[in-house]
């Protein structure tokens, strides 16, 4: 699907035109003429033909939802995902806690500890999807592109508070090895053509 036709806001060259509406008849002779004209112009048959044509063409637009799904935009902000590093397969999250801090609906809670290699390790990480407003700030603030939004939008549940945990959001290791991990293109992701736009750090002053 192309977005160009929606992005063009200039109505005048989109094929719009004013419908030619006749004046209403004021006298009885005019009304009589209008009845005769409408009776014999065959507009009813135009309507019949239009629907029959659509039936014959059989151009069905129904998406049989649970079996079929519409493609979703790569920038769509649905249930979060945790990404892994492509090279080593370890999780990208460094436990900095920025997402917890920036979350405006206070739905992210995390707990960290220093592990035996003196690296910060995430022990607990949960997102309350009942509170999350899917604003995308966590994905934007994440310095490691670790927490991003995915495309899984079916989060109906039987109670208001329902949570996703770190392990649920993390890309499975076999999916990563199969190259199935998708990068998020929305907030916080590297924009396209970033290489051309990058400049040397001005150290000369």
């Amino acid at each position: 699907m192309h977005n160009e036709q929606f992005n063009n806001r200039n109505v005048s060259d989109n094929g719009y035109y004013l419908v030619d509406i006749e004046d209403y008849p004021t006298d009885n002779w005019g009304r009589f003429k209008r009845v005769i004209k409408r009776t014999f112009r065959g507009e009813l048959f135009v309507g019949l033909w239009v629907v029959l044509r659509e039936m014959i063409k059989f151009d069905i637009h129904t998406v049989q939802y649970p079996q079929e799904k519409m493609p979703i935009g790569p920038r769509y902000r649905a249930v979060h995902e945790m990404k892994r590093l492509w090279e080593s397969g370890t999780e990208r999250c460094i436990g900095c806690g920025l997402c917890e801090k920036i979350c405006i609906s206070n739905c992210i809670r995390m707990d960290t500890k220093i592990d035996e290699n003196s690296r910060k390790e995430v022990t607990e990480y949960s997102i309350n999807l009942g509170r999350c407003i899917f604003c995308g700030y966590c994905a934007e603030v994440c310095p490691e592109l670790a927490i991003v939004h995915g495309g899984r939008y079916e989060n109906a549940s039987d109670q208001r508070e329902h949570f996703v945990l770190f392990e649920d959001m993390l890309t499975p290791i076999d999916a990563l090895k199969a190259g199935k991990q998708l990068e998020f293109e929305g907030f916080g992701a590297i924009t396209p053509h970033e290489d051309e736009r990058v400049k040397k750090t001005p150290l000369s002053y």
Binding site: V51, L52, I60, T62
Partner: protein, 329 residues
């Protein structure tokens, strides 16, 4: 009256009742599918292959649903009203020859319950009685929308019934009989003998009136969903509502049989081809009911009355006068 005739009639009644009750259900399936295809949808898809068992699912639901009699209604009239609609629809079928006579195991079967000599008058009269279903149901429900629907029903009824009667008068004058068998015999000679060629105006008028008679879309006023909810059916639930529904769809099928029998040669000479031809014509008219529902908007009640009294009735009267003059000279 010998006992064989009695048994045969009872069997025919049961067969007509069963077939058209089932057809009413299948008719809803076709309506939903045809409307869906015309609107680029798929229609029922989940119950059974291509949603074919949707009819059974709806039937189970209607039969097992609680039969609610709301407070403040007039209970007896409220209960009897759906029965009137369904019963009169099937009673009207008694005088319709559905197929030419055929021989089954050496026994000649006439697929008409009773070939009475006032056939078409009886059919129109009984279909007219069918109005009492919506009228009484709407008035007995303690609901303003139902009451509006009943009032509309009465107003619409006196409008279209005049057109129905007058439009059919000219063909009756030509045939000289009210029996549908005689109508069929009059047109048995082939396409050239069809009454539509000599009475095209009467055909169009009767067709238009049939839409009002069955309450289909251009004149879908009595139970107009987007104006008065379900009209007379608003307060009904379960199988009582289902009886209204069966009556409406059975009526559509019977009218779809009557139009070809009156104007389009019926089953012709009575051969197998003629019988299939009648079924094909019936299917077309039934399909046309669904087709117009997808294509056309509804008129207002006052527009329908304007159309019936000021346009169609004068045309019907002029048609009768011209027919009479042509027959006289």
């Amino acid at each position: 009256m010998d006992i064989a005739y009695l048994i045969e009639t009872v069997i025919k009644v049961v067969v007509v009742l069963l077939i058209f009750s089932a057809l009413a259900g299948i008719g809803t399936y076709f309506e939903r599918k045809v409307l869906a295809f015309m609107q680029r949808r798929l229609g029922p898809m989940y119950v059974g292959p291509f949603g074919l068992l949707q009819v059974a699912a709806d039937g189970v639901k209607l039969f097992t649903k609680e039969d609610i009699i709301p407070s403040n209604v007039v209970p007896n009239i409220f209960k009897i009203a759906p029965v009137i609609t369904a019963a009169t629809a099937f009673m009207a079928a008694a005088a319709i020859p559905f197929l030419p006579q055929f021989t089954l195991f050496g026994y000649t079967v006439h697929p008409i319950v009773a070939d009475i000599n006032i056939g078409i008058l009886y059919i129109l009269g009984i279909m007219g009685v069918g109005l009492y279903g919506p009228l009484l149901g709407g008035m007995a429900s303690a609901n303003k929308f139902s009451l509006l629907s009943a009032a509309r029903g009465a107003a619409v009824f006196i409008s279209y019934e005049v057109v129905t009667g007058l439009s059919i008068l000219a063909p009756i004058m030509m045939v000289g009989s009210l029996s549908l068998i005689d109508f069929n015999a009059y047109q048995a000679g082939g396409i050239g003998d069809w009454i539509i060629w000599s009475q095209p105006v009467a055909f169009i008028l009767f067709w238009i009136a049939a839409f009002a008679e069955t309450g289909r879309t251009p004149f879908h006023l009595i139970a107009n969903d987007h104006e008065i909810i379900d009209g007379f059916g608003t307060e009904y639930s379960g199988m009582r509502w289902g009886l209204f529904f069966i009556g409406e769809y059975a009526n559509m099928f019977f009218i779809s049989f009557i139009i070809p029998l009156l104007f389009l040669g019926g089953y012709g000479d009575g051969s197998l081809l003629g019988a299939l031809g009648l079924l094909a014509k019936m299917s077309f008219f039934f399909f046309f009911f669904l087709w117009t529902r997808a294509a056309w908007p509804d008129v207002r009640p006052d527009q329908l009355m304007w159309l019936c009294w000021k346009v169609l009735m004068p045309i019907a009267v002029i048609n009768i006068v011209i027919t009479g003059l042509v027959m006289m000279f």
